[in-house]
Structures are given as structure tokens and as C-alpha cells.
């Protein structure tokens, strides 16, 4: 039988260990810095070109103009048609994604038997992994024909079809984050409510959803932010008509749609068209940034309220 005295530990110098640890720390810091530096570089480029744009086009025309013809003479640089297009997509998709996403989350977290949940949740997450170009063609070749059959005046490229597809695409985002938030509500709270004679629906709406509201709210905001930034689906299915319209059955253009459209053509660096892309990009960035900031604040405010 070996005695403890026979075990030998590897000797290492205190100095060596310290150098090694310091080195590791710097390497890890470098890894973390890459994404931060890239972000700074991207935002820097974006704003630099945008400033160049605003030296030519007054900010007021950009923000309040109702005509968008940056490549045609006479040029107009009013972003409102694009903004309206983007918001139309965001609204339609939210109307799909929020109720269906929340419904799925409630089912998975509160109603589904454990077995069903184990199968269903991964499937839902696979849906989140489908490339958006697939949804784009799905909108164009499946949703649009149905819409046209229902409402004959529907245009081939239209906001509604693209908005529905974006909505379907972001259902898993809402469902997954909301479900995580709801699953994190301690079971003891549910049991407490059940023991007071509450039904499952009452427990869900009265206890679980309020307790998980920060996560649920964050999922909504992230979903809208995702819809605002979505490019491929709208480029394929929403059209290329930057006109101010309230009719979702018409062809529109979103900010992202414009950017991808212009980038596909050959535009000269330094021209006003080139700079326009960056100005629209800045606008887009500010919007999604604001949304993400809002999501963080919602979470934090709610956490404080619960303390």
C-alpha cells in the first residue's frame, strides 16, 4: 500500500506561474478586444462617411423630406419613405412574432408535458437557424401568391408578405428568450399560487408572466430590433419602391433594402450615392442601438423594482 509520503507533486517556480498567468490574461484580453475594436472601427467609418454626406445634404431634408430619389435627378434625400417602409415591416412582423412567440413560450414553459417540451424547443430553435434568404423566397413564392389570391390588388412585391415572413422568422427569438425567462421563475411561486386554488392560466398570467416580464419585454424589443435590421427578406420580397405609402399591399423599400440595392450596383467611392448608404446605415445603427439600450434598461429597471 502506498504511503502518502511517496506521492510527489510537480514543483513549479512561483515566478513561472506568475508570468504564465499574466500572459494568459493578455491573450484573453486581446480576444475580447477584437469585437470591441471592430465595433469602434465600423461605427467610426459609418459616421465619417455620414458627416461627409451631411456636408452636402442638410440634416432637415434627410430627416423630414418625403421623397427619396438619391440616384435619380432631381435628387431628393428624404428618408421618411424608407423609414416608413422599415417601420411597416417592423410593425407587421411584431404583430406576428409577439403573440405567437409569447404563446409558444407559455405553452412550452407552463403547459407542455416535459417530453413534448424536450422535442419542441430544439425544433423551434432550428427555425431560428434557417437563413433569412430562405424566408425571403418563402415570402415571394408562397406568402405573396396566397395574399394575391385573397386580395387581388396585392402587388408582387409588397410590405405585408415580407413583414409576415420576418415575423415568422423571429418567432423563435421571442419564444426562446421569453421561455427562458419564464422557466427561470421559481417553481415554488407556481406551487404557492396553485395551493391557493389558482388555475394554470391564472398562475401563468398572474404570477409567471409578471415575474418574467423583464425577459419577455427584452425579447420583444430585441425582436423589433431584429426586424428593423432584417435585410434579405425585404430585399427579395418587399420591393424597391421608396414611396411614402400606408398600404402594406404595395411595394415599398426599407432602409436595409435600399442599402443592399445600391451596394449591388457599381457606385463610385466618394460620390453622393456612396455616402447615402452610410447615412442610411448610421440611421439604422442608431435605431437598433436605441432599441438594444432600451432592452437593457427594461431589464435593469425591473430587476431594481423587484429588490
Amino acid at each position: 500500500m502506498p504511503r502518502t509520503g511517496e506521492i510527489t507533486f510537480r514543483k513549479r517556480s512561483a515566478n513561472g506561474t506568475r508570468i504564465q498567468e499574466t500572459l494568459i490574461r493578455w491573450v484573453l484580453l486581446a480576444c475580447a478586444s477584437i469585437s470591441v475594436l471592430t465595433t469602434i472601427a465600423v461605427v467610426g467609418t459609418l459616421f465619417e462617411e455620414s458627416f461627409a454626406f451631411f456636408r452636402v445634404v442638410p440634416l432637415s431634408e434627410f430627416l423630414f423630406g418625403t421623397q427619396w430619389t438619391p440616384t435619380l435627378l432631381p435628387r431628393h434625400f428624404g428618408i421618411l419613405p424608407l423609414l416608413a417602409g422599415t417601420l411597416m415591416i417592423a410593425l407587421t412582423s411584431s404583430l406576428i412574432a409577439i403573440p405567437f412567440g409569447l404563446g409558444s413560450a407559455v405553452y412550452l414553459s407552463e403547459y407542455a408535458p416535459r417530453k413534448v417540451r424536450r422535442v419542441l424547443k430544439p425544433i423551434l430553435e432550428i427555425l431560428a437557424g434557417i437563413p433569412s434568404i430562405v424566408f425571403g423566397f418563402f415570402a415571394l413564392t408562397f406568402i405573396t401568391p396566397i395574399l394575391q389570391r385573397l386580395i387581388p390588388s396585392t402587388q408582387v412585391f409588397n410590405a405585408l408578405s415580407a413583414g409576415l415572413a420576418v415575423g415568422i422568422m423571429i418567432i423563435p427569438l421571442v419564444a426562446s428568450i421569453s421561455e427562458d425567462a419564464m422557466a427561470a421563475v421559481p417553481d415554488s411561486m407556481r406551487k404557492g399560487a396553485f395551493a391557493l386554488g389558482a388555475t394554470r392560466m391564472e398562475v401563468t398570467t398572474g404570477i409567471v408572466i409578471p415575474a418574467a416580464i423583464s425577459g419577455i419585454g427584452a425579447s420583444f424589443i430585441l425582436a423589433v430590433s431584429r426586424a428593423i435590421g432584417e435585410t434579405m427578406i425585404v430585399a427579395i420580397a418587399a420591393g424597391q419602391s421608396p414611396v411614402l405609402t400606408g398600404n402594406p399591399l404595395n411595394s415599398i423599400q426599407t432602409m436595409t433594402g435600399f442599402m443592399v440595392n445600391l451596394s449591388l450596383g457599381d457606385i463610385q467611392q466618394g460620390t453622393i450615392e456612396y455616402k447615402t448608404v452610410f447615412a442610411v446605415g448610421s440611421m439604422l445603427f442608431l435605431m437598433t442601438f436605441a432599441m438594444n439600450l432600451m432592452a437593457r434598461l427594461t431589464i435593469r429597471r425591473y430587476k431594481e423594482a423587484r429588490k
Binding site: 415554488s188 406551487k191 404557492g192 399560487a193 391557493l196 386554488g197 389558482a198 388555475t199 409578471p210 429588490k307
Partner: protein, 251 residues
């Protein structure tokens, strides 16, 4: 003492595990019945059978009779929601809802049709007084229940049950997560509450059982080895195993 619940030949299974075996005893009304025994012997299972909280566990099955107001709690046609209004439960760990103190108390009544503000106010005061929490809570009714101390939270959970004007209170080791002062507070409270309510309490604390209960059921491996007057069982157990458990020689 009149009988509140007749337990007649009750058996219970978790899948293949025979967790409760042929339980038969009478729970007297307006008194405290203590359920004691080593961990895993079925005390909590029995308690949860009383308000059908075991229904949440898939693959469970119960037979026998648990007669409460002439109806068998175990049978399928019992309205579980209605049953739980009459048989309240306090859990091992305080589990207030992440809402205000006020909202916690009225959670049950509001769900069952009490809507008028004046009625609710009255109910809040009455329940908190009964749970000896009114003096501490009356000025912080709108504060989140999460800010209360553990002992206060547990009393709030008791108040939340009392607001339903139940008839039976089930307590699953209600003081095991609390400090001795809070424990003392809750014990005093239970002794006062038994004037009006029938209380069943699971406890691992022999002194607690001896201090507050009238009847004691000693559970072992799913069976009730001995049931009777607490004094009788603690001073003069008929079964040698009971005697050994109570005196701390095993379990």
C-alpha cells in the same frame, strides 16, 4: 374532539414506489396534528395528498378514502380548485409572490370573486392580524414582499392562506428555514390559529411537535407506525421504534 378528516386505508404510489401504505387515522378539528418521522417516510406526500398537490407529479396514483366534509378528497370528481380554497398550504421555504405585500394577501380572494376595494382592505388587515404581521406590515403594504425578512415572508404566506378563509391548514416544515426567534413566533401563531383552524404540520423538530400539537402521527417507510395523543406518544410510546425515534436514537 370532532373529526375533520377521516383517513381510511390510504395507499399512494409514485410509479412503482409504494410511498404510503394503508394509512388509517382521524384528524381532529380545531387542533394541531403533527406528522413526524425520518426523511422520505411519506409525511410530505401525505400532506400533499390532502390538497392534491401530488397531481402535478406524473405517474402517481392513490387509493383509499380521505373523507373531508363527506367527500373523498382522493376521488377524481373533486374540484381541485375548490378543494385548495378550503385546504390551504404553507410551504417549507417562504414563497411569497414578487408582488406587494397587499397583492400577496389578496391574490387568492381576488381570483375567487372578491372585487370591492373595501372588502379587500378589510381582508388584508384581518389576515395580516391573524398572522401576527399587521403591526410590522401595515405601513409597507405596497412594498414588494421580497423585501421582508424570511420570518415575515413565512407569516405573509400564512396570511395569504388565511385570506381564503380556509378550514384546514397544511404546513410542510414551515419553520425549518427560519431562525429560532421567527420559529417561536410562528409556533405561537399556530397555537392561536388552532382555535379556528384544523392544522396538519410536518416537522423534523421533535420539541416543536411536543410543544404545539394535540395529536401525533409517526411515519416510517410509508406507514403510520403510531398515531395518538402527542403527550401519550412522547411520554409513553407504545411502539419501541417510535420511542427510539423520538428520543433521537435514529433518524
Amino acid at each position: 374532539m370532532a373529526v375533520k378528516v377521516n383517513v381510511e386505508h390510504v395507499d399512494f404510489w409514485y410509479g412503482d414506489l409504494h410511498a404510503l401504505k394503508d394509512l388509517t387515522f382521524d384528524v381532529p378539528e380545531k387542533s394541531i396534528t403533527a406528522l413526524i418521522g425520518p426523511s422520505g417516510c411519506g409525511k410530505t406526500t401525505f400532506l400533499k395528498l390532502m390538497n392534491r398537490m401530488n397531481d402535478f407529479i406524473p405517474g402517481t396514483r392513490a387509493t383509499g378514502k380521505l373523507i373531508y366534509h363527506d367527500r373523498n378528497i382522493i376521488s377524481y370528481d373533486v374540484d381541485v380548485v375548490e378543494l385548495r380554497m378550503k385546504i390551504g398550504m404553507v410551504f417549507q421555504k417562504p414563497n411569497p409572490f414578487p408582488k406587494s405585500v397587499y397583492e400577496n394577501v389578496i391574490y387568492g380572494p381576488k381570483r375567487h370573486g372578491v372585487k370591492r376595494k373595501a372588502d379587500l382592505d378589510l381582508l388584508v388587515e384581518k389576515s395580516l392580524r391573524q398572522a401576527s404581521l399587521w403591526d410590522e406590515a401595515k405601513d409597507i403594504l405596497n412594498r414588494s414582499a421580497m423585501t421582508l425578512s424570511g420570518g415575515q415572508q413565512q407569516r405573509l404566506c400564512i396570511a395569504r392562506c388565511l385570506a381564503m378563509e380556509p378550514d384546514v391548514l397544511l404546513m410542510d416544515e414551515p419553520t425549518s428555514a427560519l431562525d429560532p426567534t421567527s420559529t417561536q413566533f410562528i409556533e405561537d401563531l399556530l397555537v392561536r390559529l388552532k382555535e379556528d383552524y384544523t392544522i396538519l404540520i410536518v416537522t423534523h423538530n421533535m420539541q416543536q411537535a411536543a410543544r404545539i400539537s394535540e395529536k401525533t402521527a409517526f411515519f416510517l417507510l410509508g406507514e403510520v407506525i403510531e398515531f395518538g395523543d402527542t403527550r401519550e406518544i412522547f411520554l409513553n410510546a407504545k411502539n419501541p421504534t417510535t420511542e427510539r425515534y423520538i428520543s433521537g436514537r435514529f433518524g
